[in-house]
Amino acid sequence: MSALRGLLVKETFHILRDRRTLLVLLALPVVQVVLFGYAIRTDVNSVRLAIVDPSPDAVTMNLRNRFAGTGVFEVVADVRRLADVEPLFQTGAAQVALVFDETFAEDVRRGGTAHLQVITDATDPNSGGLLQAYTQALIDDYRRSLTPPASRIVIVPQVQMRFNPTRASSNLFVPGLMAFVLTIVSALMTAISLTREKETGTMEALLVSPLRPWEIIVGKVTPYLVIGFVGALGILVEARLVFGVPTRGSVMLLLAEVLLYILVSLSFGVLVSARTSSQRVAMMAAMLTTMLPNILLSGFIFPLESMPQPLQIMSNIVAGRWFVTILRSIMLKGAGIELLWRETLILGVMAAVLLVASTRSLRERLDL
């Protein structure tokens, strides 16, 4: 075992001495999640709001002030007729329109059914959905604040999603993003590590030594497992603090699953590394084989249920697909292992298969 320990120490030194790479490895996941997160979320800040108020009044002003008071909305237009906001949407000048019914104030005072229409530009389903939800929450707040509580006021927001009537929620999105970033960073780390030794020539020295192929593989994967895990912790904290994604299930289970998934990704990287001969090729191969499947087939952006059958079948071999399900279930639904054992088992089997395959390809290179 002292051989393996020596290897582990060596790998750790490699990592610690290459400060710049270490920094990149640790910061990359966190930064990527922020960048991607905001890029896709277009963020509920300075939302361009158009107001259509045919009969301005203290009641409508109250609600309008609530929107203005959040600091999130920026009123770009205040018009009387619905037809006037149409061009604003087409040019992108407005993202959300609040359309008061002509009799809105009157209806509220009477305690009748008041009509308020909310129009959202949902060209980007993620931001569209988010704006929609946010606006609705504000209106709900307003409705609840109306006194007396006995009042039977019902505001019916007539939701009209422009340009794209489907919508996706951001809570669903962040876990998918975490899986995506973890996969790529992990796979890249190990993909480079073996090929680097092949390029410098130290690989031959290891192969000639009494080290067994599995020891070389374990020596490669273990230190990166620690780094990957630290990076993942960063992402989890970020998901909570920056994006407000809750963790409703067991944190321990979540961490264990994260560790398992990093192992799968690292093992994949090692396999790529064992089968390629230069760092550049290994990096390209790892990028291509993790990036596209994880964007397209993990359910991260595009819902798997709406895909054609063959793609759904193909998605089964994308580890990220199972991990996204696990993450969403634990974080959003509070699911426990009893509901996730199948996905967990699949990831476990994937890790085992990948590690065995990497060990075998190392042995094949020995040509014994």
Binding site: L7, F13, E204, V208, D367, L368
Partner: protein, 252 residues
């Protein structure tokens, strides 16, 4: 001849239709410094890869330090040392850390590693730079260190694949002193080189031509046998049969 340190019989390796090593047979005695010469692509590296258990022979056999290279690979690896053509140390580790790594890989105890590491730093005059990274050392020093590390676990046979290419003449001489020192301790050395003056340092040598052994023997016997003045001439004569080579008797 089970006493031979290396006994190779009809060793052959093909890659597809290409025969890299073609029915090669030779023996190396214990404690001998055996030169392994040949033009690029003559099959030297393939032969060494087979002798070190990195590559399986297509046919024929090779026994190194008493172990069959195709069957007893695990045992073989404990008793051989190898210094590849390319640099085999980790440049981002210090000399001592490299020693510790390879010591651990070859199953030395921490105590042994420390003792041998101290001895090695002293012998190579590396105490002052023992805590610097290998990448900061001059190339010649690194090669000497790499050689010493290849000997760390006291192998019975050590394979050196062009250990001195790119090394200055003074360091090369020091390097050969290390080789002789190892041989005097009974370690068998098989060394490939491109420098013909180095070939003359070897006890015996073989010259590979197109996957076969074109000549084998001591430098003296080879010069006599092929009627050449230097090993350089012999090399050219074997590798390029058409080229005109002055014979030993002819005026230079």
């Amino acid at each position: 001849m089970s006493a031979a340190a290396i006994a190779v019989r009809d060793l052959t390796r093909t890659f597809g239709t290409f025969t890299a090593v073609n029915h090669v047979s030779f023996e190396v005695h214990p404690g001998e410094v055996f030169g392994f010469l040949g033009a690029n692509g003559a099959g030297k590296t393939t032969a060494i890869r087979m002798l070190t258990g990195l590559l399986a022979p297509t046919s024929g056999s090779a026994v190194v330090a008493g172990y069959d290279v195709a069957r007893d690979t695990d045992a073989l690896k404990q008793v051989i040392g190898y210094m590849s053509q390319r640099f085999s140390l980790y440049e981002d580790l210090t000399p001592r850390e490299n020693v510790r790594l390879y010591g651990g890989i070859y199953g030395l105890s921490l105590g042994e590693i420390r003792t041998r590491s101290d001895q090695m730093m002293e012998r190579l005059g590396l105490q002052a730079v023992a805590k610097r990274r290998v990448s900061e050392l001059p190339f010649g020093w690194r090669q000497k260190l790499a050689f010493s590390i290849a000997l760390l676990h006291e192998p019975r046979v050590v394979f050196l694949d062009e250990p001195t290419s790119g090394v200055d003449p003074v360091t090369r001489r020091q390097f050969w002193e290390l080789i002789y020192e190892a041989a005097s301790r009974g370690i068998t050395v098989l060394v490939t080189t491109h420098y013909m003056d180095e070939a003359e340092y070897c006890d015996r040598l073989s010259i590979m031509v197109d996957g076969r052994i074109g000549a084998i023997g001591t430098t003296q016997s080879l010069k006599r046998e092929f009627d050449v003045a230097t090993i350089d001439d012999l090399f050219v004569k074997l590798v390029r049969p058409g080229a005109s080579v002055p014979s030993a008797g002819a005026p230079a």
